[in-house]
């Protein structure tokens, strides 16, 4: 399942955890857990470079943390 997720990520494009979950036949929470695993393995990285904070950002709702260290936006890291 993790390999399938990685294949989806390597294919590129915009991905959404809910749609990925439906495609892989699992729950969005498991996709998030796997993304965090891939993050620890250095294969994806959190999108946290919002230098000016969230003020005025239309994506604030999507990426704000939930009171812990959960990062809710990720991007693939260049291979190599």
């Amino acid at each position: 399942m993790l390999e399938q997720l990685l294949n989806e990520i390597r294919a590129g494009g915009t991905l959404e955890t809910g749609k990925l979950a439906a495609r892989l036949g699992t729950t969005p929470q498991l996709i998030e857990a796997m993304l965090e695993h891939l993050q620890r393995a250095g294969l994806v990285e959190p999108y946290i470079n919002c230098v000016d904070g969230c003020q005025g950002c239309g994506l604030r709702e999507a990426c704000q943390t939930r009171g812990d260290t959960t990062v809710r936006l990720w991007q693939s890291k260049p291979e190599g």
Binding site: L15, G58, R72, P78
Partner: protein, 678 residues
């Protein structure tokens, strides 16, 4: 400053007593492990450091129904692979100290995340009991976990607890006693690795059979070798002969994808456990979000909805905002101008000109489009608050990918819809310097709120009932220019490289009127402040230039400058006044309106909008609007470009590019409109 001694790393357990059972608490960070530890041990605990590490070590003793127990709170870990000192400590403790039982604390509201560690723990020989904490949080989120089903699926005892309320702890202790007393049969269901890697695992096992140093189980060591665990690899390299190690290495080299295969097997196992034991909420917010997202994030319908929303914003602006703006323009600004003219009839000409033409007609004209801005702020605030903007980013990013624009460029660009400055700053996420530079160069092509507001002000004046379609077309035109530039960028710099951007959509929720009200208030206040400072100052400067040096407009510096640049303006169908208004929009986009206000004025009979309608042809009006959308970005954005590129050369190049694009596109649109008879 505290006088407490600094804890030092103890060589041996501090208060653990021999001959009484040793229980270890394991779990991921933030699952309530420490709360459970404190609850059980109370004051009978000691905090120090693990030997040779700066990781906190917590251990204590407690008594339950006349039996005493040692309890160790292991560091929070996500797995038992040696990725961090915490993970090494936790697994070495379990393997070397061999606690009588390990309590795996999991978060019931997010079992998917918590069970990975359990998947590793069940593979060890130590008995485990799962303490399913945060049952209350799960219930609040509408998630129901069936402990009996999870227990049957895992093959190890599962006890629901809520450590923060001391609930379920007695049950946990009874199960622990039964486990310690051997009354619970241990028959865990173990995760399996993918079938094509099972043979590899068996081969590794054959190679290391009988050579694994104590206390490590051979099966576990074989798995860790396949996972590439650095510590275990080192240990086995020391333990095996050179030939044996070379043979093991040979197998490992051929299967460097085993790490993913093993982790994948564990996630398959977690998926099975969750499917069996967790009942996700069927009704309410999550289902509603899913239903709405079937449309809102659909590759085609999502774009239609987004275009519809944009059209709705313009429609609302023209239907509600424009009449109010028109009323403010003619009745308030026009009326005040008339009043001031009458009151200052005997005042020096410069004072009357400054108040009437500079302040009221200039900055006043900008203030009249506050209703338009309020509508923009309110609608976008509403969309943000209800969680739609993340969907807009998703469908737009999808479209951009189809057109070849690189994903990493897109998110910063999306931020530009509010203001180009954060878009420029957001490009810091792009690793490649040339790619980042080029993304910075094209970011100002994203129409910001100020530009859209100027268009929303001018389009109804120039185009009447066709304003909606013209405004829509202008935004689309800007985006096409952006995508064309992005495609060139992608081919030249990224060379077609694919990257992924993964989003987790927030749940839709009912927007909060107070939050939106506050947002509209803050942004409107900021706009009014801007109008009262920068724009006012600019309007006064424009007015001063229009009367200096001798009080006559026709021989003023402004007209001289306007006549100087007019030949370029003529290519685009703009007279000197429109050309000057366009240039004046450099400090802030709204200055275009302020400048027009100074040059054309307002009166109760005809506001600025009416004057513009009767003065310019459709072709010139369209050309001016295109130029407004594409012209050199505002001064704040240029400053951000200078700061982020750290180069005046790049900054000036960007200004030059935008000038060229503006002249080329506006001239093209103007002449095309003339050909079409506009």
């Amino acid at each position: 400053m505290s006088d407490l001694p600094i804890p030092t790393a103890p060589a041996a357990p501090l208060i653990i007593q021999e001959k009484i059972p040793l229980i270890a608490l394991a779990g991921q960070p933030n699952v309530g492990k420490s709360t459970l530890f404190n609850l059980l041990t109370g004051l009978n605990q000691h905090v120090g450091n693990w030997p040779g590490k700066t990781v906190e070590r917590r251990e204590g003793t407690f008594t339950f129904e006349d039996h005493s127990y040692n309890l160790v709170d292991l560091p929070g870990t996500y797995s038992l692979t040696a990725n961090s000192p915490e993970e090494v400590i936790a697994r070495e403790f379990i393997l070397r100290e061999q606690p009588d039982v390990v309590v795996a604390v999991v978060n019931a509201s997010n079992l998917e995340r918590s069970l990975y560690l359990v998947a590793e723990l069940v593979a060890l020989p130590t008995p485990i009991v799962v303490a399913m904490n945060m049952i209350d949080v799960a219930a609040q989120e509408g998630i129901r976990v069936e402990p009996e089903v999870l227990e049957a699926a895992l093959g190890v005892p599962v006890v629901p607890v809520t450590a923060t309320r001391s609930s379920g702890v007695q049950d946990l202790m009874h199960i622990l006693e039964e486990t310690l007393g051997g009354k619970r049969r241990r028959k865990p269901n173990l995760p399996e690795i993918r079938s094509d890697h099972r043979e590899v695992l068996a081969e590794i096992l054959r190679q290391i059979d009988g050579l694994v140093p104590s206390p490590y189980p051979a099966n576990w060591v074989a798995l860790k070798l396949l996972e590439g665990d650095a510590e275990i690899t080192r240990t086995m390299q020391d333990a095996l002969s050179q030939e044996k190690w070379a043979a093991v290495q040979g197998v490992l080299r051929q299967h460097d994808d085993a790490l993913l295969a093993i982790a994948s097997g564990r996630y398959e196992w977690i998926g099975r456990m969750v499917r069996a034991a967790v009942i996700q909420p069927k009704i309410g917010q999550i289902t509603l979000t899913k239903r709405l997202d079937d449309w809102a994030t659909h590759p085609f319908w999502g774009l239609v909805i987004l275009a519809g929303i944009l059209g709705f914003v313009f429609w609302l602006t023209f239907t509600v905002g424009s009449p109010v703006q028109n009323w403010l323009d003619t009745q308030v600004v026009g009326g005040l101008s008339q009043l001031a003219s009458n009151a200052l009839v005997n005042a020096p000409f410069w004072l009357k000109g400054l108040v009437v033409n500079g302040i009221l007609d200039g900055a006043g004209a900008v203030l009249t489009f506050l209703p338009i801005m309020v509508i923009f702020f309110a609608v976008f605030g509403l969309l943000e608050d209800m969680g739609y903007m993340a969907r807009a980013a998703y469908v737009m990013d999808n479209l951009m990918h189809l057109m070849g624009l690189h994903g990493k460029s897109f998110l910063p660009l999306f931020l530009g819809f509010g203001c180009n400055v954060p878009a420029i700053m957001g490009t810091r996420v792009i690793d490649s310097k040339p790619a980042r530079m080029l993304t910075i160069l094209i970011a100002p092509l994203v129409p910001c709120t100020a530009r859209m507001a100027v268009v929303a002000f001018l389009a109804p004046a120039f185009f009447g009932p066709k304003a909606l379609i013209v405004s829509w077309g202008l935004v689309l035109f800007s985006l096409i220019m952006l995508v064309l530039s992005g495609s060139v960028l992608n081919r030249l710099i990224f060379k077609g490289q694919r990257s992924a951007f993964i989003m987790e959509m927030p749940l839709y929720h009912i927007p909060n009127a107070r939050t939106i009200g506050l947002l509209v208030w803050q942004r409107s206040l900021s706009f009014v402040k801007k109008a009262g400072t920068y724009i006012l100052a600019m309007a006064v400067v424009i007015w001063a230039l229009s009367v200096l040096p001798n009080g006559n407009l026709t021989s003023s510096y402004l007209v001289q400058f306007g006549k100087f640049v007019e030949p370029v303006g003529r290519w685009m169908g703009l007279d000197w006044r429109l050309t000057v208004a366009l240039i004046a929009s450099f400090p802030a986009k709204e200055n275009a309106i302020a400048t027009m206000g100074v040059l054309f004025g307002s009166s109760p009979n005809a506001g600025l909008a009416q004057t513009l309608t009767s003065t310019f042809s459709t072709a010139s009006a369209l050309s001016f609007l295109v130029a407004t959308m594409l012209f050199i970005p505002c001064m704040a954005t240029v400053a951000a470009i200078r700061q982020e590129t750290n180069s005046w050369g790049w900054t000036l190049l960007d200004i030059g590019i935008f000038l060229l694009i503006t002249i080329a596109a506006s001239s093209g649109v103007y002449h095309l409109a003339l050909v079409l008879g506009a």
